[in-house]
């Protein structure tokens, strides 16, 4: 591969991430695995603030509350390996602005979304160029927002939404070996955060929307060791993948409560084995979607509060 001449490249031979001695010897993992301290339907707190970037028409910063294990590790650091991580991202909106002359006529607002992880966002160093998963996230985000924006009001205009992820969520607990239930579960939490943050930034830019669209995640998890096959997986809202032994299926929705409308739905994994309460005859995926919508309702409350704050600020300035 040719070296990127526009950036400063490291040693040409490449470097290797540090290998920790505690990872080489097995057996330590069972005791200090991160545990979920929340109730199944209890959501993490969200920090959401708008208008931090004055050069953009709209901006927001979103942070998830660190999990109990991460908070403990921060307060009393013992190991250099963080038990889990909490989402941190910044979102900016530029526009509506005229489309370039070369662009074809569009009667609607043209939405472009960019999601980029910072190189230090994840456990593995990320590259500087967007990879397939980041582009995929961008497409998911675009569909989620397109349904909420009233695009006819800005013909021949473009709107750029850029999200920089400073810290992402893990896909699984760092100590567990990769297994068959592995997938990029962390990405779904990231998407939910991106949707909520982008929605706040769009409102901060005073773009007309049908409603504030919020993201939520629910997952089917089985936390029991060994006997995974016998115990049916449970439904949990706002899961942190680092806190669970294995996630069988997860769902992220972009939801507008005012219209009771889902603009984006992304469900992964096998949801057929869900164990619900007695008398609940929903299928697994229905329960998952309902769970994700509940999580999105929670995020919507935070979103509405942040947007109200942003509005009061603009009114105060004027």
């Amino acid at each position: 591969m040719m070296a990127d001449r526009r950036r400063i490249n490291g040693p040409p031979g490449g470097t290797r991430p540090a290998v920790f001695a505690s990872n080489l010897q097995s057996g330590t993992s069972a005791t200090d695995r991160a545990q979920r301290q929340r109730q199944p339907s209890e959501l993490r707190k969200i920090f959401l603030k708008t208008g931090l970037i004055p050069t953009a028409s709209g901006s927001s910063y979103l942070e998830f509350e660190p999990s109990a294990s991460l908070a403990a590790a921060r307060a009393n650091p013992k190991s250099l390996i963080p038990p889990s991580s909490a989402l941190k991202l910044a979102c900016t909106v530029h526009g509506p602005k005229p489309l370039p002359r070369s662009a074809a006529f569009s009667p609607n607002l043209v939405l472009t979304t960019h999601i980029k992880y910072a190189p230090f966002a994840a456990r593995q160093r990320k590259g500087h160029i967007r990879d397939a998963s980041e582009r995929d996230l961008g497409v998911h985000l675009e569909t989620a927002l397109r349904g909420a924006i009233i695009a006819e009001r800005w013909p021949k205009s473009g709107l750029d939404i850029t999200i920089t992820i400073l810290e992402a969520e893990d896909d699984r607990w760092w100590g567990s070996a990769p297994d068959s239930h592995d997938a990029s579960w962390g990405m779904m939490n990231v998407l939910a955060g991106c949707i909520t943050a982008a929605s706040a930034a769009i409102a901060d830019a005073h773009i007309d929307c049908l409603d504030l669209v919020a993201g939520g995640v629910a997952a089917l998890v089985s936390d029991d060791s060994a006997s995974t096959s016998t115990v049916a997986p449970k439904l949990m809202l706002d899961t942190d993948p680092a806190e669970h032994r294995s996630i069988l299926s997860a769902c992220v929705v972009a939801y507008m409560p005012a219209r009771d409308e889902i603009t984006e739905l992304w469900l992964k994994g096998d949801s057929s084995k869900a164990s619900l309460e007695d008398g609940d005859d929903r299928t697994g995926h229905e329960a998952l979607i309902d769970g994700a919508v509940d999580a999105a309702r929670g995020a919507h409350a935070v979103l509405a509060e942040a947007v109200r704050e942003s509005l009061l600020k603009t009114v105060g300035q004027a």
Binding site: I8, N9, A118, F120
Partner: protein, 405 residues
């Protein structure tokens, strides 16, 4: 920003009924000039459109260590400009360095001598060979700073595109400043290995291999095998400019400095059984980098009242003599202002820039680490001396901020 601007713009003709914010956009030069040169009758001090005095820096804050997946991280905000810096350390094994065995052979004498002394160069060891220090850090690319502006930080930087010229230039300025200040010690980045003293027959074989070495060295190796470097830590220093409102360099450099001060490297050793480097995850074993000094960057811009004043008039000598005399009289008043820490609005009106990087030694002596001035010719030696003094005051302020975070 709007209310003080309205009161402090007396040079705006009363006939003009534009609100100040629109006037600022339409006539930025006249707007800023109006603020900086209030009529002498009004007795107002010269103040910038953003309410700062010409030599005043913006409010600065720093916060370190909030990112989970980094060895060291910092967020620095200078006014509305915000930079996030994360330092990630990875290992460069010497076996992965193509030219390692060659370069090591040439420098082996030195290394042997170090080993003979039988002690690790301590942190206070200032007379550690600077040439080797430089060679390791610069030739092996152990410091890899990259600055990204494609974060939506300002309109005009297309996200997803290759780094803009500004981003590339800033990355290189940071790299060259890291090299020229010798901020990071190469010894902090080395992972040493002391081979065990083996049996005599092993030693004999070892000596056979080194037959070409001089006798004195042979005897040295016979006593104790020299320590060898097995790997280096490579610091990937990534800076994301989250919000750009002027003066990105000061913010980026402050973020790098704060992040490096926060950086902890795990204890690493060569594991003979696994033939690899293994690290300890214990925080107690990890050690911080011992940086050389605290170089602080301060940037300035020069705002000229008449941007065309520097142009030489092309006139017939006799005809406009009195005109030239009038011009000379006018020069008595200050027609340019040196603005510290220019914001985004001011940067658009500035031709001449200066950047001074200052460090202070323990006895309070000021050293100029880097001085850069370009784009004009109005700043003279006397002004530069003042800039250094201003930067020295800024150094005190930044030191306080960085030590608190």
């Amino acid at each position: 920003m709007a209310p003080p601007a309205a009161t402090a713009a007396p040079s705006v003709p009363p006939s003009l009924s534009l609100p100040p914010s629109q006037f600022a956009r339409l006539q930025p030069h006249a707007y800023l000039l109006g603020h900086l040169s209030p009529p002498s009758a009004s007795n107002q001090p010269s103040i910038r459109a953003n309410g700062r005095a010409p030599s005043q820096f913006r409010v600065t804050s720093a916060n370190a260590g909030s990112l989970t997946h980094t060895n060291g991280s910092a967020v620095v905000r200078i006014g509305d400009t915000a930079a996030v810096c994360g330092v990630r350390a990875e290992l460069l094994h010497t076996e992965d360095i193509a030219s390692w065995s060659v370069s090591q052979a040439s420098g082996s004498n030195k290394r042997r001598r170090l080993a003979d002394l039988g002690e690790k160069p301590t942190e206070e060891d200032e007379d550690e060979d600077p040439e080797e220090d430089r060679a390791h850090i610069e030739d092996l690319n152990l410091l890899v700073p990259n600055l990204s502006l494609s974060t939506g930080c300002a309109p005009g930087f297309i996200p997803g595109a290759a780094p803009s010229a500004l981003a590339q230039s800033l990355s290189h300025q940071i790299l060259s400043l890291l090299h020229s200040t010798r901020l990071v010690r190469a010894d902090d980045l080395r992972v040493w290995y002391q081979p065990p003293n083996l049996g005599p027959e092993e030693l004999e074989r070892h000596n056979d291999e080194e037959q070409m070495d001089v006798d004195a060295e042979q005897s040295a190796t016979a006593e104790e095998k020299p320590r060898e470097i097995k790997a280096f830590w490579v610091l990937y220093i990534d800076i994301m400019i989250i919000s750009l409102a002027g003066n990105p360099f000061d913010a980026a450099w402050a973020a790098v400095l704060a992040a490096l001060r926060d950086t902890k490297l795990p204890k690493a050793w060569w594991d003979v059984d696994n033939e690899t480097i293994v690290c300890s995850d214990s925080v107690a074993d990890a050690r911080k980098l011992s940086l050389r000094g605290l170089p602080v960057a301060s940037s300035y811009g020069v705002f000229e009242a008449d941007a065309a004043a520097g142009w030489r008039a092309n006139v017939i000598p006799d005809a406009v003599e009195e005109n030239a005399q009038a011009q000379k009289d006018k020069k008595g008043s200050p027609e340019r202002w040196i603005l510290a820490d220019p914001d985004g609005y001011e940067e658009g009106l500035i031709q001449e820039r200066a950047c001074v990087v200052i460090d202070k030694e323990k006895d309070g002596k000021t050293t100029i680490v880097k001085m850069e001035k370009n784009g004009g010719w109005t700043v003279d030696t006397e002004d530069l001396r003042q800039l250094v003094e201003m930067s020295a005051r800024r150094w005190d302020e930044m030191k306080r901020i960085l030590e608190q975070c």
